[in-house]
Symmetry: none
Subunit: 204 residues, 4 copies
Amino acid sequence: MSDGRRERRKAARPGEIAAAGLALFTEKGFAATRMQDVAARAGIAKGTLYLYFPTKEELFFAVVREALLPRIAAVEAWVAAQRGPAPEVLRGLLAQAGAMGRGGVAAIPRLVLSEAGRNKAIARFYAEEVVARGMRVVATILARGVARGEFRAIDPMAMAPVVFAPVLLAMQWRDTIGRHAKGPLDPAAMLAAHTENLLRGLTP
Amino acid sequence: MSDGRRERRKAARPGEIAAAGLALFTEKGFAATRMQDVAARAGIAKGTLYLYFPTKEELFFAVVREALLPRIAAVEAWVAAQRGPAPEVLRGLLAQAGAMGRGGVAAIPRLVLSEAGRNKAIARFYAEEVVARGMRVVATILARGVARGEFRAIDPMAMAPVVFAPVLLAMQWRDTIGRHAKGPLDPAAMLAAHTENLLRGLTP
Amino acid sequence: MSDGRRERRKAARPGEIAAAGLALFTEKGFAATRMQDVAARAGIAKGTLYLYFPTKEELFFAVVREALLPRIAAVEAWVAAQRGPAPEVLRGLLAQAGAMGRGGVAAIPRLVLSEAGRNKAIARFYAEEVVARGMRVVATILARGVARGEFRAIDPMAMAPVVFAPVLLAMQWRDTIGRHAKGPLDPAAMLAAHTENLLRGLTP
Amino acid sequence: MSDGRRERRKAARPGEIAAAGLALFTEKGFAATRMQDVAARAGIAKGTLYLYFPTKEELFFAVVREALLPRIAAVEAWVAAQRGPAPEVLRGLLAQAGAMGRGGVAAIPRLVLSEAGRNKAIARFYAEEVVARGMRVVATILARGVARGEFRAIDPMAMAPVVFAPVLLAMQWRDTIGRHAKGPLDPAAMLAAHTENLLRGLTP
DNA sequence: CATGAATGAGGATTCATTCAT
DNA sequence: GATGAATGAATCCTCATTCAT
């Protein structure tokens, strides 16, 4: 009990640091983010960072994990709870996804793609824990729709990434190029067109 | 006449340097690419690089320009030459895109997305010279299809990015995560599913 | 009585810590030894170390003291107990010295020489408590031999370091260079040659 | 010719840097010497150091090489030129050695012994290029003395290190402990006693 | 024009030491 | 007393950029 304050602090630290890391990696990218700044943002000293994460790479890993796993779990739960027609579930999922990612999570796919070419560990983790699970959620909806005769016969695991590719592109555009150029691409219009055309295409 | 060789040499330099830059940016990313190595790969001295490109950023800019503009022009020309049914043209375009990008160009969207958040110039250039033109090409096909009654009534500029989003995702996957994890996503199957569903969805 | 265990514990601590320090300084050198590791090896927490030794330098000091003083006292006692001919005593001493130092003490002269140039305190301590006493022991034997007519007339304090210089070199070689290079120097042969030649040279 | 000044400069640099390194390693030891300071002492910028020596360890290696090889070669030449009686040559060599090492070279054995336990490369190099050659020089004199009947029959390679062990000890004492404590050990008296006793012992 | 030697700001990481609990 | 979380000074090394030749 005497160490209560410190203990509580220590338990909370990794999460606080990961949050600071997410904010900075998102804003500046992996290479341009200084450990010093992550520490400052987390309200701790430079050296303290290394009590929790031995290298910058490990921190990045943790950031990805902390930011995505809870979201994925939430989506999985939401989908598992749905009982309505598959097309409606799919539509709901796409609507959610479009709104999501505001908090910085949207930057993660971009960061991961930048690093994954050289970092096998992050590539593996992302493939298995994020992409595979994400695809499975979507595939579940698709398979259910096929089973119920709401969708034509398709391979759910081949179609799954087609479902979210436009969502990813819209998010990346919004957070990068779209910030500087009003440009030709309207994320909202794009997602509406995608949802509409996807469901038409899936109609038996 | 005695300067002919040197003149030609000098004129070719920027292109050679940009090619070297493309190769290295592709392989290692922007931050991890050293100017020294670009020079070595281009067969010139480090200092010489700076006679052609004042900063690393300018070099990156040139790399993007040199790598993409010819490809886009080629695609524009190809599309302009097509006279067949719009669905067939679209199918042909997607097949080409899937095959394309082998040579390193595929890395460029990734590099640009990584930098664009902080670099307004690159964001603007990419939005206008690459994305806008690319979308216009696709929109042209879509509009023609609508006009000929081969596609249902859609907004071509909203649908255009939906057409190539899965192509982009497939290329990024193949070059990054896919290199380390055989994982859940099969780029070829994904593109096939996409093409099929897109055209079904567009059917009047 | 209830504090008996703790008392004993506390009294034993400095020795246990010094032993841990000796092992690590020996293995890694002064600079490369981390206080953290000394604490771990001594079975205590990092902070506890500082209750016994205020700085790393003080710890080093204690390590030298604890490791050498008992040995020197033992040698002094052994020599004082000898009654035989001086050449035999000297031979016995050299044999002992060659065998000694296995346990880590051999590293101390090396450590001290590395630090002594910058640390007057350690230099003084070592000169007075270790070298002077060591030389006195040897000089005692030499003087006795001279008095008994077993050695020619020599200055015992000038000859004393000549007696153990080859012993020191042999030990240093064995523990450093000799570990990586079978090399040209054979410590055992060297010590045998030294003993033989020393005694021949001392013959009246 | 136009790059003459620079070329000459570049050729001289490694030697200048090694000299600066020798001075600082000698004064502060390996770990306590900062690359920054070596650069400053050599009159160049920190980064320039790394154009010539990729790591601190490589610099140390070079320092050892540059400082010792010329001396050894000089001693080899001197010995090869001697034609007089072996005892006189040996006496001359010991006198030289006692005077030598003033310039900082004397610190090298100490530095090497400190590092060699953990650095196989430096151990190997020192064993082969320094110790083996040094022993061979001494052994040559000894063997010649035996052949000419000036020395008793001995194993030259076993006796060689006995010849210079007291020289090494005297130099180390003078440069480290002796600087702070007038202490019990008088290097000059020691070397005189050594020379005398060594030659007596070698008498047939 | 071309070169490549030189620069020095910048950043990741380590570790002796302190101090609240 | 004992602990170990926290600190931040210290140091190696990298690399974009400059400029004398």
